[in-house]
Symmetry: D3
Subunit: 256 residues, 6 copies
């Protein structure tokens, strides 16, 4: 870290993702929020925070391990997502109608997410990190980019008025599935178990018994959780790349 980075990080510290009251978690498909931030969502829900999940595409092509296809699968995945959120303690789950696999224009996706932001009035957005050079799935990159844009724009009355929407009190964005976490939410083995159950017990069309993912994803999440936990001298943690309002604009050093 250069001296300039160090000074800025001390003069304008990145906010903690736990210090807010109203949260909007945005996921590209019905199971991504759980994988990327499930333990944190459960912790926040247990702490009485107001939480909304927004799922942007219908996940209709997540059909490798299920007999269900098309609209039938879409319907089932909605049920799975609602049940999974409930397991984490979240009851407000919303769905955008977009088709899995880039079945939308970026402008309409942006407008749809902006509308939910305008209604939910969150203080912080959780979304996939769009600046991960190895991520190839276009829905992840698109949702991440749109949310990053709105994390800044949606708190400006003027910029939102251009879309005919009211501003929201957004103060931070927390990118999940990130390669450069800068804030860690202490969780616990119990919260990690809750997260894994929400993924594997609830999203059974995606992760039936016997699939490789059923073994590898828990291993990966446990390993990450334990290593991030060690950083905080605790048993478990989730890591996020967080930008507060100060970091979001004209402070390039925050990007390193």
């Amino acid at each position: 870290m250069s001296l300039l980075d160090l000074i800025l990080s001390r003069a304008a510290p990145v906010p903690s993702p736990e210090e807010f009251g109203t949260y909007l978690f945005v996921g590209p498909h019905p199971d991504d929020i759980e994988i990327g931030a499930g333990a944190t969502a459960a912790k926040l829900a247990a702490a009485g925070k107001k939480i909304t999940f927004l799922i942007c595409t219908d996940g209709r092509y997540g059909d490798s391990h299920t007999e269900l296809k098309g609209d039938d699968l879409v319907l089932r995945r909605k049920e799975e997502a609602v049940a999974s959120a409930k397991a984490l303690g979240v009851t407000d789950v919303r769905f955008l109608p977009y088709l899995d696999g880039v079945g939308y224009g970026l402008d309409e996706l942006r407008r749809s997410v902006a509308e939910v932001i305008a209604e939910v009035q969150p203080e912080v957005l959780f979304c996939p990190d769009p600046d991960v050079d190895s991520e190839c799935h276009p829905d992840h990159l698109n949702v991440g980019r749109v949310c990053k844009d709105l994390a800044f724009c949606a708190s400006h009355a003027g910029l939102m008025s251009g879309m005919g929407l009211p501003a929201a009190p957004l103060k931070a964005v927390a990118f999940y599935m990130t390669a450069r976490p800068n804030r860690y939410v202490i969780t616990s083995p119990a919260l990690l178990k809750l997260q894994l159950d929400s993924i594997f017990l609830c999203h059974e069309t995606q992760f039936p018994e016997g699939t490789a993912d059923r073994k590898q994803i828990p291993l990966y999440l446990k390993l990450r959780s334990r290593l991030f936990g060690l950083r905080k001298l605790r048993a478990a943690a989730e890591g996020f790349r967080v930008l507060g309002r100060t970091q979001m604009h004209c402070m390039p050093e925050a990007g390193r």
Copy 2:
């Protein structure tokens, strides 16, 4: 720096941003050029260089601190931008008609900037760095990306002819508001003061007395200027990520 990077940086050195005769500075909003490169613009103007400022959006949503709204604000901000440029010694200030907050398509923005390049015939472009992972403002990213594209394309007669435009003698792009400066322009405390005055005295709709920005931005700019100055054993400097023609294409090592 790897050995390959080192060899290439010595074999094909990045040009100095001061070695050219004709300059085009491109800003997303009416005050960005001053914040990102104001001291350098003033130094170059004082040295008799030919300089044009191009402002891409009308900044109509920069209305947090002013009673003026909409077209009235747009008009006032144009006046502020002209006065501010003048304070820096720059009299050729041009405006694109696009609405603040992504009020344009990327293709039309690209074409409009290409037209100005074709007319001004600059040797170097100054623009925001589009490769800053913390920058969330879409106008900054869009203007940066379009300029980066044209920094390469606009010097190729063929590529410009596709748009019915003549080529320009572009030899370099200098990204301001960057996290990875590789060239430093020595300025001075006097030039820094000129820059700060151009920002705070001229753009009074944006930075009236008593706002937080009025305190924080000068602190940030002074700190940066002093630290970059120290690298050159001088009192003040501005830093840019510069790519010459050799670095712009098929030399991936220049991106590290």
Copy 3:
């Protein structure tokens, strides 16, 4: 490398770009594949692999060093590309009809490349690295982004069915012209010579005797080849950033 990166790199190793049977090399213009991966293509061809070259734009604006213009040049460059591929041992060369210099929409480019993937059924894609911060040529960035997207999507039956196409057995993407190679293909001075001949003898409209590129590109390629070769304790090698299926999605650590 963080402990997490290290563990993941050992638990889920990036595949070798040589372990496949069917290859699709995608180039923005008629000479890019040769420059970016020519020695590797020749090695794979000599090993009896099934190889297709796909050239996305017609290169009509590569007319700085030739009297030929427009469609005449396009025709000649096709002949050059076919001859050059043949010199490397590759006979299946395909062309998309797009104009040089962003003469296409991203959606149509994506669909066209997807169609070729559906037909060729490659196990690995070679394409320009779209995550190189110094690359300014829009065709390189566009082709790289589209291929990165399809490297993931084209192996999912559902995602391809949305385009009415069959899935392909894609297992990896290998980015050439990259700043962060993670896999090295051992070549040889003879293969390097073959590569240079394919570039300079075959693409004579681009690199006639006496041009600066005619001297600088060979120097650059030789230097890279020798330095990458040293990493493998050999005389020559080409380097690529390779992502296997595990690295392409939801494993952000693979992006560092």
Copy 4:
């Protein structure tokens, strides 16, 4: 790692500390070998390797937690060391007669260790790393330096003949208590438990119930073991800085 380091590490790989037949572990005080390399010693002993422990000082000043003083403590600590080694599977334990706390000259210490090397004829030495900038205990630095010197000299007939001693077949030195491990011996939770028992149950004059060390050292050793284990995708490991004959002399790159 520079390219030169990389090439050398591949051309002349550091040997594995497990590939030898005859081992000499040298400790400054009666409990240091167990703390620094106990699990590895137990693994090697179980594998039937020939192992000798050599303890250089009498540890008479390790009297903070015991009523025993002076020669009485020295006697007891010898018994503890023998019992502890036995718990690890090592029966050949030797003692130099030097007083704790620099109660020797460096020359006589060097000669004494050389005599044991000449007799035991080890292929590898284990000793404290003398190049740890935070280590302040002079006995640790002295023993480390003497062993590092002899790791090289004791295999040269000429150099040993100057002391009237025969050469030994030394091929490597493995520094324990090191900040820069480059080789990891996979152990196991059972071996770690054996190590901790050898320390805490056998050396009871040093670590009686209720002392701070009794809690902190196991935590530290478990944490290290787990993190080093993760590097090898295993549950536990010990880390050492190993130099083979090639690395010991005139290959400065091996020191990074």
Copy 5:
């Protein structure tokens, strides 16, 4: 910083050099303490801490800029040292009788410093960092090594009893003139001025008007002070490499 380093630095934080009550500053020559830690000494003195300065050699060869030679110079430098300490607020200044330029054996130097430690009973030692690879002056390396050794040994009753001396309550060592500071003492421009005056006004035999040092040392100290100050968001600071009792022994990670 590796994960292990990070965990240890949080689990066992390095103490602040300001948290103690009784201080012993050790200098190789009569002006080194002032150069290495003068502002901190003045701050601590002003805070009412008990401070002793110990000067190990007589500085008789610091005669480049003075007519005084030999014992005359020794006498004068003692007076300068006493005056300089007084300017910083320190009245207890002690002198060892050793000749400048390695005019002592390491064992007698160690014993002499141990005697002062036994008498003064400090909680922390300040001394030159002996692990600076560019430092060539043997007196600096010797004094640093002896103090580093005693920082550990002098708090152990047993180890001191071997020298017939009582133990001291040493809890930390703070190395000055270090390349790897890990703790920063916030000072101020006034304290920096006090430091520079103590050096240049008091040690006039060493730094008469017109010498190069008279210009360069203040520049160096001001620059360091300002840059270290910036790390703490203050105008001035001094940096030290501090080891607490936990870091001094068997915790190699503290050496990185």
Copy 6:
């Protein structure tokens, strides 16, 4: 490199090892100077510089590959060293009478080297780098440490007068066999060949045909020479860690 390091390296640049007139190369054994700095010595000799070689031990234990033993070998190695130096263009070769393998006290070695310095009056010393953590040979570490000490002390009239010797105009020390070169002397393939011939043709008792060293050392030296050459955009170079007078004392940042 930290900002402080950068500023200091620019404000007080390390001198070039080629800028002096009188050179003293010090080697632990009769062949070390050639291996560590032979090409540079030859280049300097060809440029008419005044050069002395000083060999500290008699190398009597370098008898692995020769029938000669003891004093007979000592005699032969002297002849080899003289012939080898002559091949490099150096005729002033001096020998200290010390036995190979620490056959000296550090104080007498220091005094002997100081005497040669006093007589030769060099401006720069070349010697082995004593701060290489992998070097285990005590003669290399001892000679390096003594020379590092004298590089500073021998230019101070006072410090030398304590030994009854006149001062020398020493301005720099250049460490060979170093892991952290900071200055590179451009050589050439011809100079490299001269160096290799001086080693392998002249020191035939050490490197007879058919030994492993006869193959490995040339490979290592060629590789180093080529890689260091690449840094200077040349075919060959030797690298040294150089300290000028400014860097030798009280400038800890020069040690990084």
